[in-house]
């Protein structure tokens, strides 16, 4: 869906992005993480055809961002971190304008507008003036505008920026809904907690360079050298530890006595993890929960970056 090859951008004496290469499949939710000034917005603007790369290129659904800009614009939706709205324009007129700008036929526009308003929970504000909306509603309206032409790829530059906690949660739920619709989402943020339960792939950029990129779990395993499996048993956690310890590829097994939880460091192949569950059940132990530990993006970020701010 998205592939960048050595994407670079230089402004006079400043190298904003250097040799950025990554690949996303359709349906991926890619978290683009980095401190302020790292090059996130510059990267997104290049992908959105707003900035011409100094070197390298990118392909969106097979279309080159340098030579096929018209096609690329129809395939992607761009939501900037800061944006303005027009005075004396109603919500539905705002969406109708952008629908026309994306060459959507007049006959289809009313239904599309109703659909995106319903999706972004702005149906009740259809006839309100855009400048009267709250910050959170404007953000949702911008997202609605981004969806009006049903793009395959969404480029979202800090979509929750400046929002209060409730509005942040609403945006996050909305993005989860988009994920379930099969959209490929490229979302930048400097707040790790926003992305941790949402992204299946991440890229960390620092000082214009992509430090790490790929599947979240694989990166975590790469850093820590193992997968941590969290197992809860009804009772007898110590016996469970004795069952697991001899199994090949099982490293340290730590027991948390208070709630009969075991934290198992596993260095083997992911498709052989089920053997641990089979052994526990075979030993007569009642397992109430068996799952992989949630990736801690903060751990990844702190280990992979050096704290360089350009």
């Amino acid at each position: 869906m998205l592939e960048t090859q050595g994407l670079s951008k230089q402004f006079r004496n400043v190298t904003a992005v250097w040799n950025l290469s990554l690949q996303l499949e359709e349906g991926d939710i890619f978290g683009f993480i980095g401190p302020n000034g790292a090059g996130k917005t510059t990267t997104i603007k290049m992908l959105a055809t707003l900035l011409k790369p100094t070197a390298g290129t990118a392909y969106i659904d097979g279309h080159d961002i340098r030579t096929q800009q018209e096609e690329v614009r129809g395939l992607m939706g761009y939501m900037p971190d800061f944006f303005g709205v027009y005075d004396d324009v109603k919500v539905w007129e705002y969406l109708d304008f952008f629908a026309a700008a994306y060459r959507i036929e007049r006959s289809r526009r009313p239904q599309i507008i109703e659909d995106v308003l319903a999706l972004t929970d702005l149906g009740g504000k259809r006839d309100a003036y855009v400048e009267e909306l709250s910050r959170g509603m404007k953000q949702r309206l911008c997202l609605a505008k981004t969806l009006v032409h049903d793009p395959k790829l969404l480029l979202l530059d800090e979509p929750a920026s400046g929002l209060d906690p409730r509005a942040r949660i609403e945006i996050r739920e909305l993005l989860k809904e988009l994920r379930s619709m099969g959209k490929t989402i490229f979302i930048s943020s400097h707040i790790l907690a926003e992305l941790s339960d949402f992204c299946n792939k991440i890229g960390i950029i620092e000082n214009g360079q992509l430090v790490v990129s790929g599947d979240v779990q694989e990166i975590l395993q790469q850093i820590s050298g193992h997968i941590t499996i969290v197992i809860k048993v009804v009772s007898d956690a110590e016996r469970a530890r004795e069952v697991l310890a001899p199994i090949p590829h099982v490293g340290n097994v730590r027991v948390v006595e208070q709630d009969n939880t075991l934290l198992v460091e596993y260095v083997g192949e992911r498709d052989q993890i089920s053997e641990l569950l089979q052994r526990l059940v075979g030993a007569g132990l009642s397992v109430t929960s068996f799952s992989e530990e949630e990736a801690d993006l903060e751990d990844i970020f702190m280990k992979m970056t050096r704290g360089i701010v350009s």
Binding site: K45, A48, T49, E70, M76, P80, F83, D88, A101
Partner: protein
Amino acid sequence: MRGARGAVIQFVYVTLIIAVSGVMYTFFRLEWAGGSGAGANPAMAAEFGHALFIGISVLQAGMVCLLAPAFTSGAITGEREQRSLDMLLVTNLKARSILLGKLGSALGYIGLLIISSVPVLSVCFLFGGVSPDELIAAYVLIGTTGVFFGLAGLFWSCVFRRTLQATAAAYGTVALLCIVVTVMDVLISELTRYSVDAPVLSYVNPIMGILSIVLPEADTSSWSVFGTVPLWVVTVSFQALAAPVLLGASILLLRYRQ
């Protein structure tokens, strides 16, 4: 146009035209009353009709020279300042469409103001002294002047990043073409040993173009070095040639300037 602002401006403009017309009529009435006759005769009426036509035409030409750049010089810089330009540029709209849309909305409102003055202007025909050719020529020149200065405003709006700078440059263009060129013509005429009857630089001055239409009694044929081609035709031709250049440059700046 939403809200009272558009209607208020329209009201003020038409009131101004009516006021100017009323003042002119009052002066003419006083002149007629003070003349040898008891009232106006057809020649005097035609004189007033023509004078009214001159006044309104010059007023509208001046209005177009002042408003067209004002409406367009903030078209792109305003979008940039309120951070809505990027969202326009990522759509399937071509730069040409964006610019022509901005120009159309600016000139549309100016056109509305001009149309609003038509009832007052029609009084000229009631009094006589104005031919349809003069009327058509005047409005062709006013129209092309609006388009030209509108495009100039758009061009500067694409060059600069701030509305203030773009507006200053747009009005600088107006001042250059409406005042400076004619002053330079006068200076050239005064400072050179040659008596230059025909203006060289004033071809681009739309005010001079309007005057060449509304003052048929002046020997305007000597104003043009192109023989019998009236000065206003040369002005319109210059604007027609310059307009696509301004539009093309604006398109390149909007789309490719990073």
